[in-house]
């Protein structure tokens, strides 16, 4: 056999490489079967971070479709206004991507928590808002008074449009002594960056 190989080294090389390729290919094929994965668990983890207001401001009909889109790479992580910067930061940490600023096209981040409030004098009992609420936070029935359960309301804004008499307001919760907290001190700028930050301020002014 070695004589054959010595005579036709090219053939031997070919045989060796093809043989190795086939062998390894078979091994990989077997491994691919054995290590099959189902489903998309990343989407679950992303969904757990999103604020679950189901408001649709991201352009997807709910938080689950948006998390699926992020998991499959179709959507950027900066499209959720109710989640704001904090959610973007958490998503960036989870997916090991850069934390980009919020995409203003989809809405601005609210600073305080907002809650819907129905002006009961004007309510006509049409149940359109009840059907619209994604978390069933409105209590009421046809021709009966409707009211918002404040503790369940996520401030998603979906009930305001369907109301035919426009009796729903979105109010921000006031800060009381109980809910007040300290703010972070202003950040210190190190000397080498001070000049550039001054220049930025001048440009902005």
């Amino acid at each position: 056999m070695y004589e054959l190989i010595a005579q036709y080294p090219f053939l031997a090389a070919l045989v060796a490489l093809v043989g190795m390729g086939l062998c390894f290919g078979a091994l990989l094929g077997f491994a691919a079967e054995k290590f099959k994965t189902e489903g998309n668990p990343i989407s679950e983890q992303i969904n757990a971070i999103l604020p679950q207001t189901q408001c649709g401001q991201c352009g997807y009909p709910g938080c689950r479709p948006y998390s699926d889109a992020i998991a499959s790479g179709d959507a950027a992580i900066n499209r959720c206004p109710p989640g704001g910067e904090a959610t973007i930061a958490q998503l960036a940490i989870l997916l090991d991507v850069e934390a980009i600023p919020l995409d203003e096209e989809h809405g601005e981040e609210e600073q305080a928590a907002i809650v819907a409030y129905i002006r009961e004098d004007e309510c006509i009992g049409c149940t359109k808002c009840i059907l619209a609420c994604p978390v069933d936070a409105i209590l009421g029935a046809a021709k009966q008074m409707h009211t918002v359960i404040v503790s369940e309301c996520t401030g998603c804004d979906l009930c305001v449009e369907p109301c035919p008499v426009d009796c729903i307001d979105l109010l921000s919760e006031e800060t009381t002594v109980q809910s007040w907290h300290w703010d972070l001190p202003p950040p210190t700028i190190i000397a080498t960056d001070r000049e550039s930050s001054l220049a930025d301020e001048e440009k902005a002014a």
Partner: protein, 192 residues
């Protein structure tokens, strides 16, 4: 005998560290070291690949290529072996931790082109290691890579929140840090 193998290990891990002294495998070193968890995941994957790849390369060289006089094909066949091992590793990682798989992203298949892996395989041939020595050498290289990767990731995490001047932020200060680490590791020269 034990002394020989320990010297081999110490040499691969510290004295001739593959990343900081021999400057191989810098791509995943810089790319994956932003977070400690990903760095640890990557180092485990690379250890697995390196050990397995150095064993398979040794076997394929000594029992297939050498007897057939096809020693000149070692580069191509090592690449083939490494690619197969990396594919296999990728399947295992995707099964066991989909998040790690997604986070490692493209760096997992890039282990194929990691010069450290091919380097270990070729160096084993150059140094005429036997099977066990090849295995230890590969494992030691992987340990050295993991050690440095984890250290570097920990430092980069601290750097991320520190007061770094803006021209230096990100990769620049990372490179400076890597250079300083490399200087430190050169202190091991002459140990073995």
């Amino acid at each position: 005998m034990l002394a020989d193998y320990s010297i081999l290990l110490i040499g691969a891990i510290l004295v001739n560290n593959f990343v900081l002294v021999q400057f191989l495998g810098l791509c995943p070193f810089m790319g994956v070291s932003n977070k400690l968890e990903t760095a640890m995941g990557m180092s485990m994957a690379t250890t697995f690949v390196l050990t397995l790849a150095s064993a398979c390369s040794y076997l394929s060289y000594n029992y297939l290529l050498q007897p057939l006089g096809l020693g000149y094909l070692k580069t191509i066949s090592f690449i083939l072996v490494i690619a197969v091992v990396v594919q296999f590793t990728e399947m295992v990682v995707r099964k066991s931790s989909p998040l790690l798989h997604r986070v490692l992203g493209v760096y997992l298949p890039l282990i194929t082109t990691n010069c450290a892996v091919l380097g270990v395989a070729l160096l084993n041939i150059n140094k005429d290691h036997n099977f066990l020595q090849s295995l230890f050498y590969g494992f030691g290289a992987a340990l050295g890579f993991s050690l440095v990767l984890v250290l570097f990731a920990a430092m980069r995490e601290r750097l991320a929140v520190a007061d770094v001047p803006s021209p230096f932020q990100g990769a620049a200060i990372g490179m400076v840090t890597a250079g300083l680490m490399s200087l430190a590791f050169m202190g091991f020269a002459g140990l073995v």
